[in-house]
């Protein structure tokens, strides 16, 4: 049971963070399919910091630096989407897909090159990186909590406040609903959309880092993040682009995901269903839910439509 809770919380935080990121981007008007890729890049950056500096820094500093680096990497990578979607006004779905493919390729190339040069071996290098994740995990009584849970809750509250209680949130939302209205009162739609995309980069990057680090100490980058970025999109839609609904949706989906992890070690093993079946479940559950909720889905009105200031 504890295992189920542990894994659920782990996945829930990841899905929530990334879904919140997607929410910021879409609420500003840019569809962000590249979340999967941003997770990979953010995760890669953070893991590199751990790998290289793991034993050279005190734990709290290590945690802070690696998380900041993963956020920063996510922001920079997301700007590629921003540039393509906002400045060049290109198709956002294609741009996002490109960045997903690019991220996996970049990750493998960089990690292999790194391992190659470090090992000076002759054979094909592996795409794995090893690190210590002790700094991230705390034991409180019988529970193990990882720091991402706390960070996740903080970011959730900040997201809500920012979006609904500050003037910046009001302006960002107006860009995703009615950019012409925003423009006519002097709001710079392009700027706010970049901000929305950058926030999604930061949250996605941290989310990717949170996906990789707490559970294992070696990560094979050929695997990527196994569809978590896309599940986060379903979470965002199910949560109707509202922060607290997204959090609830994330927990819901995470339950399914964690069933797959514990399937061979608990009561569920008796059911005789293999790992593959459990792996399918979050996706099937998503589809069923989306089928029922999409008829009345209230997406940000102007999302996906590039804004052209000079359009006559």
């Amino acid at each position: 049971m504890f295992l189920l809770i542990k894994f659920t919380l782990l996945y829930a935080v990841v899905l929530m963070l990334v879904a919140l990121g997607g929410m910021f981007s879409e609420r500003s008007g840019v569809i962000n399919i590249a979340l999967e890729g941003i997770m990979v890049i953010g995760g890669l950056a953070g893991v590199f910091v751990l790998s290289l500096l793991g034993d050279k820094m005190p734990a709290p500093l290590l945690v802070a630096v690696s998380i900041l680096v993963s956020a920063l990497a996510g922001i920079i990578y997301s700007l590629l989407l921003g540039f393509s979607a906002i400045t060049l006004k290109a198709d956002q779905t294609i741009g996002g897909t490109a960045l997903n493919m690019l991220a996996t390729a970049i990750a493998i190339v960089i990690v292999k090159a790194f391992n190659n040069s470090a090992a000076t071996g002759n054979g094909a290098a592996s795409a794995k990186l090893t690190y210590s994740n002790a700094a991230f995990i705390y034991k409180i009584g019988p529970f193990t909590i990882n720091i991402f849970l706390i960070i996740g809750i903080l970011l959730l509250i900040c997201s809500y406040v920012f979006l609904f209680r500050t003037k910046w949130g009001l302006r960002l939302r107006s860009c995703g609903e009615h950019p012409q209205a925003a423009d006519s009162v002097g709001i710079n739609v392009y700027q706010w959309r970049y901000i929305g995309v950058a926030i999604s980069g930061a949250l996605g990057g941290i989310g990717g880092f949170a996906y990789i680090v707490p559970s294992v100490t070696t990560w094979n980058f050929e695997v990527g993040v196994a569809g978590a970025g896309f599940l986060a999109l379903a979470v965002m839609i199910f949560g109707q682009w509202k922060p607290f609904n997204i959090a609830a949706a994330a927990v819901f989906f995470a339950v399914f995901r964690s069933l797959a992890n514990i399937s061979d070690s608990t009561v569920l093993a008796n059911l005789g269903l293999s790992k593959n079946i459990y792996s399918m479940m979050p996706f099937i559950a998503s589809m069923i839910i989306l089928a029922f909720t999409s008829k009345n889905s209230k997406a940000p009105k102007a999302e996906g439509i590039p804004y052209d200031k000079g359009a006559r």
Binding site: D91, I94, T97, A98, A105, F230, F283, F292, S294
Partner: protein, 372 residues
């Protein structure tokens, strides 16, 4: 020069620009990793299969065939206003169909190919139905079903259906030994290229491309599908059943991807490894850059697919001592990113050429005092 020819030329130029820029980025990456061998590495990528002829060329041909099909799959969907990112999942399900009919039922190759097509079609229909009747974006549904398909197929091959998985090789059984009648005939091509998987698959793929081209541009069915893709509301107004067309379109798209799987696996090019549970076949996703480079034109898809197969094979010949073969994937991904704005390149070029012409045309149009 007629408007149509001018349009075609502009498209080709725009695509070429994307390719050149993509290759340039690739070269940059090679230099960053190992500057001394960068030139040689780039040369290998550009030479593609010709680096190691004739085997390399044969390999290129074998890889191009399924890529033409996935490219057609994505292009067909694009033409009808849909983004079929699920080609990889439809391909995977097609693999199952082909291999089941081959390894278990020992059917001749054309029946297996048909099975692959039908499996792909079903897997494509699902996102179509979700979009038409439940208003769920086809991108999300396709992505979900990519993963569902992968896990399902792995499960079936690994434990569900005995007789497909060979414990010893951790892969499915080789067709040449288990069911030779299911192999696509090669009509002597294998001898020419000194490979064992170069078959008439490539010709079949080209034939399918031509069929798709004819359907899209010369039939009323194609007219209806494109109308739906361009403007769902006007299509409805014209009495076209847009819901039915969305489903049909995705079904055909899925079928094309399924055929691709059949062409590849029934040529004996490879066996399926159900243990690799997180990797969807790259050929499914590479259909996207192929379709984009070809600007969704079925005939263009043939050339774009050959190009992508070409540089992928070239990438595999990079000396692993210095470089990772994934660099070819990187180049392809950069090309897709650029392709997102290939339409823009086209418009920019067109606009700078057309400024004068448009003033003339505007003058021609005025008469009974037209306003906007």
């Amino acid at each position: 020069m007629s408007e149509k020819t001018k349009n075609a030329l502009l498209s080709i130029v725009a695509s070429l620009v994307c390719i050149v820029l993509g290759l340039a980025v690739g070269f940059l990456v090679l230099t960053c990793i190992n500057a001394d061998n960068a030139l040689d590495g780039m040369a290998r990528i550009i030479k593609g299969g010709f680096h190691l002829k004739p085997k390399g060329i044969g390999s290129e041909i074998a890889q191009a065939a399924p890529l033409i099909m996935t490219g057609l799959s994505v292009a067909f969907a694009f033409k009808t206003g849909l983004f079929n990112i699920g080609a990889a999942g439809q391909y995977t399900v097609g693999v199952f169909g082909a291999l089941y009919f081959a390894l278990i039922l020992h059917m001749p190759w054309y029946v297996c190919l048909l099975a692959a097509m039908i499996c792909g079609a079903v897997w494509g229909a699902v996102p179509g139905i979700f979009k038409a009747y439940f208003n769920v974006n086809e991108v999300i549904t396709s992505i979900m079903f990519n993963w569902i398909g992968l896990y399902l197929v792995n499960e079936l091959m690994y434990t569900g259906v005995p007789g497909m998985y060979d414990q010893k090789t951790t892969r499915t059984y080789k067709l040449s030994s288990a069911s030779p009648s299911s192999l696509i005939p090669d009509l002597g091509l294998n001898a020419v290229f000194k490979t064992n998987s170069t078959t008439i698959a490539i010709f079949l793929a080209v034939a399918f491309a031509i069929v798709v081209y004819v359907i899209l541009s010369k039939t009323t069915f194609g007219y209806e599908l494109k109308a739906c893709g361009f403007n769902k509301d006007a299509a409805k107004y014209a009495g076209i059943n847009e819901k039915r067309n969305i489903v049909l379109s995705m079904t055909i798209s899925g079928a094309l991807a399924g055929i691709g799987a059949g062409l590849y696996f029934l040529s004996g090019a490879s066996e399926w490894n159900p243990q690799v549970s997180t990797a969807l076949p790259a050929v499914g996703f590479n259909g996207i850059p192929v379709a984009l480079l070809a600007l969704s034109n079925p005939i263009g898809v043939i050339f774009a697919a050959i190009f992508v197969a070409h540089i992928s094979v070239g990438g595999s010949y990079l000396p692993t001592k210095y470089y990772q073969p994934e660099i070819a994937d990187l180049i392809v991904a950069v090309i897709i990113y650029l392709c997102a704005f290939v339409m823009l390149f086209k418009e920019m070029i067109r606009r700078s050429l057309g400024k004068k012409k448009r003033a003339e045309e505007a003058a021609k149009e005025s008469g009974k005092g037209e306003t906007k």
